[in-house]
Symmetry: C3
């Protein structure tokens, strides 16, 4: 065939396939549900409150147009607590010459078409903060601004029982509403500056930010004296005796927390010495130097480099063990022996055990062989716990989490040895691999999920 | 035989056996110890302070009759802290025209016959609160009012080392004294309204109420601002910016927390849609509606229904696996291979592995085969943790606990498969089941318990 | 040989060997690193801040001699937070007629030779407190004053990856600087009296002092009201409604916490009834009697005796199982199958699996067979957790930790049975023990440690 023909074919294929792919994704997302599985999966009704732009529908029990003082007059009796909160807020007393921000300013006036305010609504006044928040998207995931989108687009979110992912989505709603951090209807910056504003979500595995902060020398001073600090002050050098989450991560209140991340949440192996990371490192040293010697700050960051290197040496070793088992077909239930994700055509055609983060299964490690689950927990719980503890200066937990990684590595080594021996024995005895049976392809739990999801 | 003879035999048997049974229980309870094992088991001496009505004996070192100001005069020097607490209490300053409630009012005047006050003593003044408290008994266990009784009547309480159940009984003493929640001698309602009044007991597995509340949006506001709320206010709509434990569970201070329970603490599979539960559900929606949209509240409760359904699907599957193993005699140490509970005649005659809650072993799952223990922890720790987290709006932990349930289910499936294969192999090789040996029937730990309990 | 010859030989040998041994230890300690491995192992650079006397070197970027107000003038702009702290401190306003304690009083005046203050620097003014602190050494380890020394002298500290032991040494630096408890530069006694001063280090396994205290009735009152107590008061009877860590353990502020220890941190089996322990017990009863009945206090301590006895019965049983396996060469990787500690000549010559605390491996249980690791966790995490919970009156966790010990014992029994059966089978089949292969002698993680440590 002539060379020109190839060019033409490639060009035509591109012209057809790219728009087709684009159209397919758009079509996938336009179903009644959420994300790229919106045609296969609809979130629970409570999700309407977490992604109001897409799902919220106002109650129809109260009719009429109300505004400002009229809303308050009635809700004073119906929900007095939130009215009190509002009255104490800057929305109620915005200063001389300014109009209060009433209920109706954000929720609308027609009681049968009330809105649940989303970031866009808040952006009407708080334009800069919203712009900073949205700007985070450019740093990729994990980030607040992409939290919801990336969640509902993940295969395992659509696969797991809805009632379980509902709890995930509650925190991931940080992308689609502002009251995750600024609790309604007081909305005071003073509240959002305190660590409690962050820890409703940033707690527990895989991100024990609360434990690690509160166990650090910083957190300890906060716990002992924080109630007497003046939280109306901005997050600026000299205003606080010890830092809160926001003091370091949201310098001067900037609503973008991703621009100083060197180690990417501890999720991935990174080279901490790239030129980009040197810029970020200097930004950190500058923050720490509000109170500490710059030399000390730099050494603490180097220490974190080393902690990460140790953690990754352990994870690498575990991953090597697993990949070796996979190559010998010794993982069971292995790929093809458990139900594929919904709409996962590729997995159906080419079953393939995915090991580690880049291989693609991420937090989906819930329907795999026990040794893979061990690795998942080692990576996602112990490793991330170690990172957060080391990063926040919680020495005790850094040790504990590393001990847990050692423990997991030991267990993985031992299980692997047993699987190798068992595989050998079975090959000798049966001339073939052991058949794990239908345990994971069907059964009450799997069937239950399928039926009700 | 004539029909009349049957009637007479039945009637006579009833007339003999019912009183005999009643007398036997009374006799069992009338020993030197506590509960139906009172003749086989005496609690540790410290228990005198937890069930004072039954066991407390006053110290004999101080002689004489004292009252009112005389007690204070001396204890001002001996235990100044508690005297200060009392002086700051409403007992010391009950208002114009009222007599203070002195030490002697509750402890008595004869120093060699001092009493440790019990709920009945407090009821002399706080009659209504006490009546509410006692009323809880009608809802069965778990309830505060039955906490002590049901504990000391449980077989495993009498079987486990005393030093271990001592720690259980410390919290179960909530039934037999009031200072579990109202710390002596300040006794302020303001203290009891705060979550700390509850969490001394409601913490840790199997009821992480503290963690789940503090990690919720409610708890977060409490942590950040609670110290500045006015706790002298009653637990009524509009008085608090966010709820504490008591705000929702002890509405208006009502000392009865069992009348709104739909899911029974997460312990049992329930039908959440019975007419009775619809009444309770509406009561919950009413509570939540103090601040939230009723529609939102209803959806959150539906969400909890679904979380429970998922949890129970997992537990059902695990229980099925275990019952299958039991039917094949593959649990070891199985029934009959470990020491029966004390006085457990039935277990001696008819050894029978009990699986799950209704089968009767409950928290006694400490001397069983490892796979049964896995199930116990799945049910009692992970499942209850999931329930508490979901119920209190702690999204992160709901996910974690469900991940732990998945993990346990996986482990149970795998262990079961191994036991099946091993059983098969042994049957082929030996023509009979493997003998676990005397590991659990004797040995240092078991002997130690027997000797010292 | 004549008797006199023996005497001369012994005398000469002693005269040579004792000084030789002494000289060897001195030589070992005089290397560039820290502790007896100072010639083989140098701590991470950040350690300079934790053992400043030995490692800290001042930054060279600022030149000149400064004192008093001059330091402040500049640091007001550079690090305003710590200057504010200092201005609010008693160092800044020591009272009429007294000279302030300026930056230069502790750090020196030459900016290129600044010191990081150590206990000796603080002792210039706080002589008595320092003497109490040093006095703790006579009670042996664990103690604050020996924390650093004993850490860097432990084999496993020199063996584990530096980045991991760095986190250990952060807390162990309590021996070599005072700001572990008195956070700079406010240095208020009021802060150090609060539990937060202790829990930066005393948290998490193996010493969940924070959890156990905060879950106790004492901790609960602290959490609910502590912010309103007057912390400027001394730690004396009647000054506080409930105790903090320091109230009981550092009576009247005494900087020595080891003289009342009966159960030695829960680490060792002790006889709680020695005459020495009776003296300590009475000292405890006296502390508790500040608020409680002496009889009650004595019973709580007896209860703790019993809790310990139960815990040790479990540990004894586990240790017996392990020693039996060791005697049959059934632990693998066993001694000789994993890399010995650096400079551990004896282990190289006479490989010997060390089981339990006295055998010598202590917290080094990270490179051993899984069943030994189970025992380590049972002893070091569950057992110590149980002790701390019981000692601090956290009933719920006492039960949980004991359940975890039971669980571990079960697992150890089962693993041991499997190892015995496997060993038997291998002996029958191969005529020899199974070879675990080089898994623990080399491999990525071990090699990684060796290369980079």
């Amino acid at each position: 065939m002539k060379r020109r023909a190839y060019i033409w074919i490639t060009l035509l294929a591109t012209l057809v396939l790219v728009p087709a792919g684009y159209a397919y994704v758009q079509w996938s997302k336009s179903g009644p549900g959420s994300g790229v599985y919106s045609r296969a999966w609809t979130p629970e009704p409570v999700h309407a409150y977490w992604d109001p732009d897409r799902f919220y529908q106002s109650v129809q029990t109260v009719q009429g147009e109300f505004k400002g003082e009229e809303c308050l007059a009635c809700h004073q009796a119906v929900t007095p607590g939130i009215v009190k909160d509002w009255r104490a807020s800057r929305h109620a007393s915005p200063g001389p010459g300014k109009e209060p921000v009433y209920c109706s300013s954000c929720h609308g006036t027609n009681h049968q078409a009330l809105k649940m305010p989303t970031p866009k609504v808040c952006a009407q006044c708080h334009e800069n903060r919203h712009a900073e928040f949205v700007d985070e998207k450019r740093f990729g995931f994990p980030s607040h601004a992409l939290a919801m989108e990336r969640a509902v687009d993940a295969k395992h979110f659509a696969d797991k029982p809805k009632a379980e992912v509902a709890s995930c989505l509650q925190c991931h709603s940080v992308a689609t509403k502002c009251d995750s951090c600024h609790t309604r209807h007081r909305f005071t910056a003073a509240e959002a500056r305190r660590p409690e504003a962050c820890i409703t979500c940033h707690s527990g595995p895989p991100h024990p930010d609360d434990d690690s902060y509160f166990a650090s020398a910083h957190g300890k001073r906060y716990l002992a004296e924080g109630d007497r600090w003046d939280w109306s002050k901005t997050l600026t050098k000299g205003n606080y005796p010890a830092p809160s989450c926001a003091y370091c991560h949201m310098r001067d209140g900037k609503h973008q927390v991703a621009d100083k991340t060197i180690w990417k949440f501890g999720l991935l192996e990174v080279n901490p010495n790239t030129s980009g990371n040197e810029v970020r490192r200097n930004a950190w040293v500058e923050v720490c130097s509000d109170c500490h010697e710059a030399q000390w700050s730099a050494e603490r960051l180097r220490e974190l480099d080393r902690e990460r290197r140790t953690a990754w040496a352990k994870l690498d070793r575990a991953e090597t063990v697993l990949k070796n088992l996979r190559s010998k077909d010794l993982l069971h239930p292995g790929a093809g022996e458990r139900p594929p994700y919904p709409m996962d055509l590729m997995e159906r055609l080419l079953p393939h055990a995915r090991i580690g983060y880049y291989d693609g299964q991420a937090s989906a490690f819930y329907n795999v062989s026990p040794i893979e689950r061990d690795y998942f927990e080692m990576w996602y719980f112990a490793n991330l716990g170690a990172y957060k503890s080391a990063a926040h200066g919680d020495a005790g937990s850094t040790s504990s989490w590393h001990a847990q990684m050692d423990r997991a590595l030991e267990s993985i080594e031992q299980r692997a040895q047993a699987l190798e021996e068992q595989g050998e024995a079975e090959k000798n005895a049966l001339g073939r691999r052991h058949d794990p049976g239908p345990a994971w392809l069907e059964g009450e739990y799997t069937t239950h999920n399928r039926d009700r999801n």
